[in-house]
């Protein structure tokens, strides 16, 4: 006899659990909980109800006579029912034979994440992620299992797939983090191969939230906080600076060429502390806020999820010209008018506006670089009447402080393009960049007979972006001037789309389960076009007045435009999975891709993969025990490709712009010549990967996932530089070499309830060894995409047996203590090796043993690539309180500390210079100071520039309090949580620069990176 049974399902901490399935055993009758965690079902007294939710341990309860049931579910450490998203579908985690790491919405809740890359950093194994810089809104460098390619232009970036739409790497910033339901990182070839030609760098699949059947769910989460730089460099104060300047001058003085000896500063101690330029550019109270609001719900015919998000973040460096805000709207819905048909859309729109410093990791031109170099003697604002009456303050168009009318201080010693940061800010006020992104897809799914599904999905990325800037008349330094006020506007648009059709069928026969999918895809991207215009001599006085209705003379209007070359990929793919009793597992994939980037000889590539798994704990001989609860062994092999070599690299194109002037017309005549050599045999870059791993549940509370991989890329695509004597502007793109990545990855989870304390720990560790195994015949190394620093030339090199772009330079053999030592340092033939050296200069090792110190004495000095990366998250919940600590780190890498410019002789120093060599301070590694660096102490790249890059950072620390249900009910809310949070609270590192986390093509090259901020925030989370 059925009675109405009602009840409520909650989490340990009392929050309601929506979407929980309540099923009456032995029947198909089921119900699910609504947003309040409440369900109702008809069931007989004494019947068994199974209450289950993915990620939670299922419970079976007996229906009591009164029909009232309240259940509290606990998290299931075994996670065996969990589903992961794979390419073109989902798979039960227990059956996955590839190497896939997941991050779920729950792990990201209330985290201070502005971009999706940050959601992955430290949370999964197999990824090397470094923030590009601390400019709000900027992207991070993401590498999945190392490097597969040499070139810089995106070739090593993973493929991002959002709800099935392929989004280019730079464009992923449009996503709102609270819209993310899950992120899956496909790390091994068996998982990636379904994305074929573009999968070799790894695939990251993002699924956004969908509405659930049940009551309306309304959620708000927001936080507000303040940010400050975590660290300042230790720079010399004014009197120290004057003292060192005097010493550098004296050490370089040469009576033959330098006239009379006059110290630059006659009385160094009179200058006192001087100006602290860092505090001029840094903001110790930069604000940030994020607000996210979502409404979702649905019926058995349709569901919807819609959200609005807004974030606004000020930068900590030169805040008036460094800030970012973004608004997001998302509408995801599905409709299922009949059992056999469903359709819907996932649509995200974002609009962002940002002011950016531009040079965020560059020694040139940025306010941060100026703050590091400007002499501390120059005042921020020049109020001295004598000084104001003289050059340079009498030069036209110098920038004045709007508040006081006095000019901003102009440094005498430090010139180049460097300038007073406050003056620089005045020249860029108001300038901004903007974008509108619409990324989404519409799909139709038909199931004409059971288990046979046809799905068609049309996805698009529609982007509009541009910038507006006004440049006033200014004179910041002799090489940083503008003599025509101008207004510039740029507008671009991109319309990329892809269309995919799949047909799938699944069948179970006894204990045999089989699934097959066959698909076809057409992808078109890089469909960009742009226009820009500049009005010179515009009459506007500042940015806010500027517009294009102020028409200058026709000659003052400059316009330009651009068209990109389309990139088209055409694909066929299939996947077959089979398992017997969830014990023996098999997946096979093959994809065929054609790419417009290759010549007709090698246009199509085939990318197969296979993987197998075995679950011994399901075998009859495996006795149930409390040590190994579940064990799965898996292995895979597969081939993936990469076509990111740029368009038309297989042919030689001619370029214009080789212009010259004939006659007296004062005009250019256009010249053309070939841009590069051709290579019609250019073919696919292939990555072959073997992956062996296991997934296990141990001692009931531990989960362990471990993988070993070996990934070999054959025929790395690159446009290698060619000898200059060939005279061609560039070489042909070639398949220049082979490269290998190997590593081991661990992910460990632990969950335990101790009394009222819930404890959860997740940790991961990955190792990575990257090695170039082969280059074109005759080549021992290449220096393409090598890093260089002003007059120093290249200081990284990619060589056989070495990792991608290792540091390459001179070994230091010590510091010369006496002139006798200099004279005694000779080659085998007796030549003095460093004739211009003086005591206190660096003694460079004569590695090639010949008669001079030259380029062939250089050697490999270390790698910028971390040998290991790790992350750890600790979750604690006690009664109404919760606590999260999350940290990540890297180790085994070197950083190039390039914070002082070579060409700014009189720039300020970091205070390490106080330990320079002097006759009275002989035991040091810091060479003497000298205006003229004839010995190349600094202009030669030596080991002195490198520092260890190991760090561990406490990325997030959060403490929350959930108001008890009796309080929240009063305002009609299901959940009210307040929290305090800190980001980047604490970093352990020996690195002396601002921030050891440095992204880029070659990691670990610090040219004065915009550091990440330390922030403190307070947040509120309300659910109705």
């Amino acid at each position: 006899q059925d009675i109405p049974v009602t009840g409520k399902v909650t989490e340990q901490n009392g929050s309601p659990l929506p979407g929980v399935t309540v099923k009456l055993d032995g029947t198909t009758r089921a119900a699910s909980t609504d947003a309040n965690g409440v369900f109702s079902i008809q069931a007989p007294v004494g019947g068994k109800l199974t209450i289950s939710l993915i990620g939670m341990a299922a419970q079976t309860v007996t229906v009591p006579a009164d029909g009232r049931i309240n259940v509290s579910l606990t998290a299931d450490s075994k996670d065996l029912t969990e589903v992961v998203v794979v390419g073109y579908g989902t798979q039960k985690k227990a059956l996955v034979t590839g190497s896939i790491s997941s991050v779920k919405a729950k792990d990201l809740e209330s985290m201070p994440i502005n971009r999706v890359e940050q959601a992955l950093q430290g949370r999964t194994s197999g990824l090397t992620i470094a923030s590009g810089n601390g400019q709000p809104g900027s992207a991070s460098t993401v590498r999945v299992r190392g490097f597969t390619s040499f070139a810089s232009s995106g070739n090593n970036d993973p493929l991002w797939v959002v709800d099935g739409v392929i989004v280019d790497n730079g464009g992923i910033g449009y996503l709102n983090q609270s819209d993310i339901e899950s992120i899956e990182v496909l790390k091994d070839a068996a998982s990636q191969a379904i994305y074929g030609a573009r999968a070799a760098n790894g695939v990251i699949i993002i699924s956004t939230k969908k509405g659930k059947e049940g009551r309306l769910s309304i959620n708000y989460n927001g936080f507000y906080g303040t940010q400050a730089p975590a660290k300042k460099l230790k720079l010399l104060n004014a009197s120290e600076y004057a003292m060192i300047r005097n010493e550098a001058y004296s050490n370089s003085f040469n009576a033959a060429t330098d006239g009379t000896f006059t110290l630059p500063y006659s009385n160094p101690s009179s200058y006192g502390e001087g100006t602290d330029w860092q505090s001029v550019v840094f903001n110790d109270d930069a604000r940030r806020q994020t607000h996210e609001f979502s409404v979702s719900g649905g019926t058995n015919k349709s569901t919807f999820y819609t959200s609005f998000g807004y974030l606004d973040q000020e930068g900590i460096v030169a805040t008036p010209i460094s800030n970012f805000n973004r608004a997001n709207i998302r509408i995801n819905s599905t409709f299922k008018p009949a059992k056999w048909i469903s359709f819907g859309e996932n649509l995200g729109y974002s609009h962002s506006v940002n002011s950016s410093l531009g040079n965020t990791n560059s020694e040139f031109g940025g306010p941060l670089s100026s703050a590091i170099h400007l002499d501390p003697i120059t005042p921020v604002i020049q109020t001295d009447p004598t000084a104001i009456g003289k050059s340079p303050y009498t030069i036209a168009n110098i920038i004045k402080d709007p508040a006081t009318g006095f000019p901003y201080g102009i440094s005498g010693p430090v010139g180049q393009e460097m300038s007073n940061p406050l003056a620089y800010i005045q020249t860029r006020l108001g300038n901004y960049g903007w974008d509108h992104n619409i990324v989404g897809n519409a799909f139709l799914e038909i199931e004409p007979i059971e288990n046979l599904k046809f799905r068609s999905s049309l996805g698009t990325k529609l982007a509009f972006y541009g910038s507006e800037s006004y440049t006033p008349l200014f004179w910041l330094s002799p090489s940083n001037t503008n003599t025509k006020a101008n207004f510039y506007r740029e507008m671009n648009m991109t319309i990329n789309y892809n269309w995919e059709n799949t047909i799938s069928y699944s069948k179970s026969y006894g204990k045999h389960h089989a699934y097959a999918i066959l698909g076809q895809g057409y992808y078109m991207d890089n469909n960009n076009r742009g226009l820009n215009v500049r009005f010179n001599n515009i009459i506007a006085q500042d940015f806010y007045q500027s517009n294009l209705n102020y028409k200058p003379a026709t000659a003052d209007i400059q316009g330009d435009g651009s068209d990109a070359t389309l990139h088209v990929v055409n694909s066929l793919f299939t996947r077959v999975t089979y398992d017997y009793d969830e014990k023996y597992l098999f997946t096979g994939i093959i994809r065929r891709d054609g790419s417009s980037r290759f010549g007709t000889n090698n246009r199509f590539g085939y990318f197969p993969s296979a993987s197998i798994g075995w679950v011994p704990t399901k075998e009859g001989f495996w006795k149930e025990n409390n040590i190994v609860n579940f064990l799965k062994l898996r292995g895979s092999y597969g081939i993936t490709g990469n076509d990111a070599i740029g368009d038309f690299s297989y042919v030689s194109l001619v370029n214009s712009g080789r212009n010259y002037t004939f006659g007296t017309t004062d005009a250019s005549i256009i010249g053309w010549s070939p841009a590069a050599l051709s290579n019609p045999d250019l073919k696919w870059e292939e990555t072959r990967q073997t992956d062996i791993g296991l997934d296990a549940t141990l001692f009931n509370d531990f989960t362990l996932s471990a993988s070993y991989f070996k990934k070999k890329t054959i025929g790395v695509l690159q446009t290698p530089s060619i000898p200059l004597y060939l005279g061609a502007a560039g070489g042909a793109a070639e398949n220049v070499g082979d490269m290998q990545n190997t590593g081991i990855e661990f992910e460990i989870g632990y969950r335990k309830k101790i009394g009222e304390l819930n404890l959860g720990i997740n940790a991961n560790l990955s190792t990575l060894k990257n090695k170039v195994t082969k280059l074109l015949p005759g080549r021992e190394f290449i220096e393409d995409n090598a890093q260089s620093f002003q007059g120093m030339g290249n200081f990284t090199r990619t060589g056989i047996g070495r990792s991608f772009n290792e540091f390459y330079g001179y070994e230091v053999a010590g510091i010369f203590q006496t002139q006798a030592e200099v004279n005694a340092y000779r080659g085998p033939g007796g030549t003095v090796l460093q004739p211009t050296a003086k005591p206190g200069d660096i003694k460079f090792a004569n590695l090639d043993g010949n008669e001079s110190i030259n380029g062939s004495d250089r050697t490999y000095l270390g790698s910028p690539l971390p040998k290991y990366t790790y992350g750890i998250t600790i979750n604690l919940a006690y009664k109404n309180f919760d606590f999260v600590a999350f940290g990540n780190g890297v180790g085994g890498n070197m950083i190039f500390q390039g914070l002082r410019r070579l060409d700014v002789t009189y720039g300020n120093w970091q205070n390490s210079v106080l330990d320079r060599w002097t006759p009275t301070n002989p035991s040091t590694t810091v060479p003497r100071v000298a205006d003229k660096d004839l010995n190349g102490n600094y202009t030669k790249f030596s080991k002195n520039y490198l520092e260890k890059g190991d760090y561990f950072r406490l990325k997030t620390l959060q403490v929350g309090y959930n108001f008890p249900a009796n309080v929240t009910k009063k305002i009609g809310a299901q959940k009210v949580r307040v929290y305090l949070m800190s980001e980047n609270l604490w970093t352990i590192t020996k690195y002396t620069g601002y921030d050891p986390e440095i992204g880029g093509t070659v990691l670990g090259v610090d040219r004065g990176i915009y550091p990440q901020a330390r922030s403190f925030m307070v947040g509120l989370n309300v659910g109705f």
Binding site: S391, P478, N659, W672, I722, Y725, G791, N854
Partner: protein, 488 residues
């Protein structure tokens, strides 16, 4: 689906479908000329690098490490990783390649035969000009006379310098007949027979082939000053040579041309047609105090300040004022102020210092000066002929060609005749052509560099050439010169 993958290259032209007609051949020729006036993205030119290395100038600039590639030329710490050698090597071989590709492709083009012959002659002569600089700067270079096939690109080897000189002479001689005698104004800047004879003479002079050198210059200079077959005449006023409007004047033989309209900006320095020397040599932080008396210099970067030694030599010469911007005296008179930057002497280059009145109207104004630069001008060939005659043992007394042409240069600025001696010729060349990029090469040619440049660190049997750029040794068969620690 093959067809869907054939995407439109959007105006990107394939090499295989280019070079089809006369007009396309012409654009290929322009690309060769483009390398003549090439400047690096780091503001380097042949002129400023070797001027920095000479005893007429210091590198100057803001500080001892500002524009470091010029500083290392100045203080002789240049090495194979420095930017200067790499730029000069690349500039020359890029010119050679563009000439070679045109010479190869033009064979298949159907076009007017005499025009074709002229283009071929120009390409060959330009190739010779590039090789002449390469061989005297680097000595040990490969001799590439056709585009190198990719399969053999690492197999190129160096040849004896004599072979390079031989090819230069061949290319120049062969090109003569197809070149016009004179060039109409609209085409000015393109090579004429006169220009090629002048280059040939200079090549012979470097080879110390005194007789052929004198003969080649005689063709250029004519039977008497002002009587050149090619119409060359000294300008009556020395100062007029430096008026930027006087492009391709009667004294100009081989001129590097620039313009004010190519819209060069900070981000594309060197890839457009503005002359960067205007801003480089101007005094730093220049401010007129008494506007009526102050020259209208553009505040520049204080590159190539003139040494005190040269200033003392030219101070009372009539060419002083058009040659030297004497900021020292202007400042002392309270008329202007400027920054005493690195190696400041107070004397700057007047000949092409940027002026407010000559600034461009578009682009980054200070980067788009339109002043042309002389590679060879008539006063130069007059003096070179006098030198060749003297060295060849010809009579040089009063009334001889050597005497007449040497003193024609002096007479133009109102100086009395002097005897034809090496000392007089050397002094005349130095004062006449300050900041024109000749001095360092002259000192090396005369064997005087080790003594005259010792104060800067010049080492004999080493610094007469530059090291071959390190990148060229990587993975190739190119060997470093012995002088620079190599084996070649």
């Amino acid at each position: 689906c093959q067809k869907q993958l054939d995407v439109n290259p959007r105006e990107r032209i394939l090499e295989t479908s280019y070079y089809q007609n006369q007009q396309e051949a012409f654009t290929g020729l322009v690309a060769v000329y483009d390398q003549l006036g090439n400047q690096s993205s780091g503001y380097l030119t042949k002129l400023n690098l070797f001027s920095s290395a000479s005893d007429d100038h210091f590198a100057g600039a803001d500080s001892p490490s500002d524009l470091g590639d010029m500083q290392v030329m100045n203080n002789y710490t240049v090495n194979s990783l420095s930017g200067g050698p790499s730029y000069l090597w690349s500039k020359g071989f890029t010119g050679v390649y563009r000439a070679n590709i045109l010479l190869k492709k033009i064979e298949g083009i159907t076009m007017d035969a005499s025009t074709k012959a002229r283009y071929i002659a120009e390409a060959k002569a330009l190739r010779a000009i590039f090789y002449f600089d390469l061989v005297r700067i680097f000595k040990n270079i490969p001799l590439i006379l056709a585009p190198v096939e990719p399969s053999g690109m690492f197999d190129v080897t160096q040849v004896a310098p004599a072979d390079v000189y031989k090819q230069i002479e061949t290319d120049l001689t062969e090109s003569l007949s197809a070149l016009p005698v004179t060039i109409p104004t609209a085409d000015a800047g393109r090579l004429s027979q006169g220009a090629v004879h002048a280059v040939l003479g200079k090549v012979y002079l470097w080879e110390e082939k005194w007789g052929p050198a004198a003969a080649a210059f005689a063709l250029v200079n004519g039977t008497a000053p002002g009587a050149s077959t090619y119409g060359y005449k000294l300008l009556p006023k020395f100062a007029d040579l430096w008026n930027w409007k006087n492009k391709f004047n009667s004294e100009s033989i081989l001129e590097l041309s620039y313009n004010t309209t190519s819209n060069m900006g900070w981000s594309n320095v060197g890839s457009r047609e503005g002359n960067v020397m205007g801003i480089l040599v101007g005094p730093r932080n220049y401010v007129p105090v008494i506007a009526a008396q102050a020259p209208d210099y553009v505040s520049g970067w204080s590159v190539m300040p003139i040494t005190k030694e040269l200033f003392d030599l030219i101070h009372y010469d009539p060419r002083n004022k058009p040659t030297v911007a004497n900021l020292d005296s202007l400042e002392k008179a309270g008329i202007v102020t400027y920054k005493h930057a690195n190696d400041n002497t107070g004397y700057f280059v007047e000949k092409y210092a940027g002026r407010v009145s000559t600034k461009a109207a578009v682009g980054q104004l200070e980067l788009n000066f339109g002043q042309n630069m002389y590679e060879i001008r008539l006063a130069d060939t007059y003096l070179m002929e006098a030198e060749a005659l003297l060295k060849s043992g010809a009579a040089v007394g009063s009334g001889t060609r050597a005497y007449i042409f040497l003193n024609a240069v002096r007479a133009r600025v109102g100086l009395n005749p002097v005897a034809v001696t090496m000392d007089n010729i050397m002094k005349e060349r130095r004062l006449e052509m300050v900041a024109e990029g000749q001095r360092w090469f002259d000192l090396v040619r005369w064997g005087l560099a080790p003594t005259k440049l010792a104060f800067k660190g010049f080492q004999a049997n080493k610094n007469e050439t530059l090291p071959i750029p390190q990148a060229e040794l990587n993975n190739t068969k190119i060997l470093q010169s012995k002088e620079w620690g190599g084996t070649k």
